[in-house]
């Protein structure tokens, strides 16, 4: 069967090292499906590693038409140069139109080097992707200047059109075990990077924080004034069966762990309810909460930009209101 035409479609780099990367890959597959349907082409996912069959099956179940797989002991650890030695020749041979990767640590280190080798354009950490109906070009929306503006980037003449995508902006499709797809193992010539050696890799020891899945997220900002005040958010979050998030100044002050950071350099959440307390609403933060179904904001300053995006804004002092809210909720639950 001649697959060469099918392989020219929309490619997604399969990044599966941990739960978070696994999810962003599935989100990208869903988006790639939309784009491919509009362009009347196929979705192709890449799976590289020492054993990748289970990932290839997972990608098919989430909507991929073809998986390009490579199994080799040297592909076991995520190494930029080694991965380039496999993926760059594939791109040159099969000529995809579009190539997407999650903006994970690895994606953001691997894709720039790959794009340079392929001499093509790359946009970083996109928050939206669309096809321009007139030109068929991929419109890649990326925040600039700390989110002060959004730029739509295009790659008019170079191929593939490459982009890394912010985790959490697209919704993955449900797992469909009936789905049918092909898994191909093209010839590979793995060239291991010998100049960089991974000596040790240890999973970072942190408490599991699943902000992205919490139905309610309570976010604290600098306006809380102290670590003690920030910690009282945990009580409120617990009463609402939610999780606690934080803005960059809070992380900078060391009031809580980095994993709670929301916004452009942190996580994107889409809870049923987001309660923002003592955060003025800098765009770096609000880009991470735009998808929330309902936003309730508490801030002392009626002019605070956070009120522009709140469904309910309460003008008041966070530290006065917080104990009262906790008390009122205790009475009700």
């Amino acid at each position: 069967m001649d697959t060469s035409n099918d392989l020219k479609g929309v490619w997604v780099f399969g990044d599966y090292r941990n739960y978070f990367q696994n999810r962003v890959t599935l989100q990208l597959i869903a988006k790639a499906r939309d784009l491919a349907d509009k362009l009347n082409t196929k979705v192709i996912a890449l799976a590289l590693g020492d054993r990748v069959h289970q990932w290839a099956m997972e990608y098919v179940a989430h909507g991929v038409d073809i998986v390009l797989a490579a199994e080799h002991p040297d592909l076991k650890s995520y190494q930029v140069e080694t991965y380039c030695s496999v993926v760059a020749p594939w791109v040159e041979a099969f000529q995809p139109q579009i190539f997407l990767a999650g903006a994970t640590s690895f994606g953001r280190e691997f894709f720039p080097r790959l794009a340079k080798r392929l001499h093509t354009g790359l946009s970083a950490d996109c928050v939206a992707l669309e096809v321009d109906t007139e030109t068929g070009l991929l419109l890649q929306t990326t925040p600039g200047f700390g989110g002060e503006l959004l730029a739509e980037i295009v790659t008019p003449d170079h191929r593939p059109q490459m982009a890394t995508v912010h985790p959490g902006v697209f919704q993955e499709r449900p797992h469909n075990s009936e789905a049918v797809g092909r898994i191909l193992y093209p010839d590979v010539d793995v060239v291991p990077e010998t100049r960089v050696k991974l000596i040790r890799s240890k999973r970072q020891q942190t408490r599991q924080i699943k902000l992205e899945e919490a139905p309610v997220v309570v976010v604290g900002g600098r306006g809380l004034g102290s670590r003690e005040q920030f910690e009282s958010l945990f009580e409120l979050a617990e009463l609402l069966e939610g999780e606690v998030g934080a803005t960059r100044p809070v992380i900078g002050s060391g009031w809580t762990e980095k994993e709670r950071l929301l916004g452009q350099t942190g996580k994107t959440v889409k809870p049923k309810l987001l309660v923002s307390i003592g955060a003025s609403g800098a765009v770096q933060y609000t880009t991470g909460i735009l998808g929330s179904e309902t936003i309730v904001a508490i801030n002392r300053d009626p002019q605070a930009p956070i009120f522009n995006m709140a469904d309910l804004g309460l003008v008041g002092d966070a530290n006065t209101l917080l104990p009262l809210l906790i008390e009122a909720l205790r009475k009700r639950i």
């Binding site: 280190e109 009626p302 009120f307 009700r332």
Partner: protein, 269 residues
């Protein structure tokens, strides 16, 4: 150890303006600072040089006013500074920018043992230029480094990558991009301003010095184009309530009921 540090002068975010015709950011006339993570890279380079010997060369591509950033770096202790400037360089994406910077690094004599950059800049936040230079210079790369230890003829570095703490050995020459955690720099000492502003020459290299063609650099050498610039998505039209704490708490509780997060209480006032 000879180290090249690539820095970028970034505009002060609140005062940015756009060239609507060319759809690029106008950098002239906007107050500018050295990109914060590039400060970290510079400080690390100066520390390494002080312990290992060698020299620190600072390189930047930008309009003539970027010379200020280089002067600041020289005042902090850099040995040499090179400004890559010329009208052809403007409007560059990361592909074209890394091409010019890589051409300049290749021209350095001696070729540096280590190239350091901040992981990303505050203006465009791509984190592309470091790895793209490494590719063009055929150097090994490690991005997001937060610890550097010098061994005999290699470096041991640490970083956090996707939830894993990684320890890596990198042979030299190499390119590293560094994060805020590398060292707490704060503000660099002003250093010897007289040295910075009078004695030391800032070398300037243009298109011809780098033996590049116009179509390889700037807007023409870029693979990406800005199609449209826009402000972030539309605002929500919500209710803004002020009043006594009790009124605010009541509104909050009522909202929770509306969303069925709290069950509606019988006879709630």
């Amino acid at each position: 150890m000879n180290i090249a540090v690539c820095i970028k002068q970034v505009p002060d975010v609140p005062s940015i303006r756009m060239d609507r015709e060319r759809m690029t950011i106008i950098r002239d006339g906007v107050e500018s600072v050295i990109n914060p993570l590039d400060y970290v890279a510079l400080q690390a380079a100066l520390d390494l040089r002080d312990r290992q010997g060698g020299e620190v060369v600072v390189v930047t591509m930008g309009p003539p006013q970027s010379e200020e950033a280089l002067r600041e770096a020289v005042a902090a202790g850099a040995d040499r500074a090179i400004l890559l400037t010329g009208p052809a360089f403007s409007g560059a994406d990361t592909l074209a920018t890394s091409h010019v910077l890589a051409a300049a690094i290749s021209k350095l004599d001696p070729f540096p043992d280590l190239v350091l950059c901040g992981t990303q800049t505050t203006d465009s936040d791509t984190a592309h230029v470091g790895p793209q230079m490494a590719e063009e210079l055929n150097l090994p790369q490690v991005c997001g480094v937060n610890e550097i230890h010098v061994e005999e003829d290699y470096l041991t570095v640490k970083r956090l990558s996707d939830g894993f703490v990684e320890t890596l050995q990198v042979s030299l020459p190499a390119l590293l991009t560094v994060t805020q955690e590398l060292c707490s720099v704060g503000h660099l000492p002003f250093g010897d301003l007289e040295v910075a502003f009078s004695e030391r020459e800032i070398t300037q290299w243009g298109l011809k010095d780098l033996e590049l063609k116009e179509e390889e650099v700037g807007l023409r050498g870029s693979a990406t184009q800005v199609w449209k610039l826009s402000a972030p998505p539309p605002k929500r039209e919500g209710d803004l309530v002020s009043g006594s704490p009790q009124i605010l708490v009541d509104h909050f509780i009522r909202k929770l009921e509306d969303l069925s997060i709290l069950d509606e209480e019988d006879g709630y006032k």
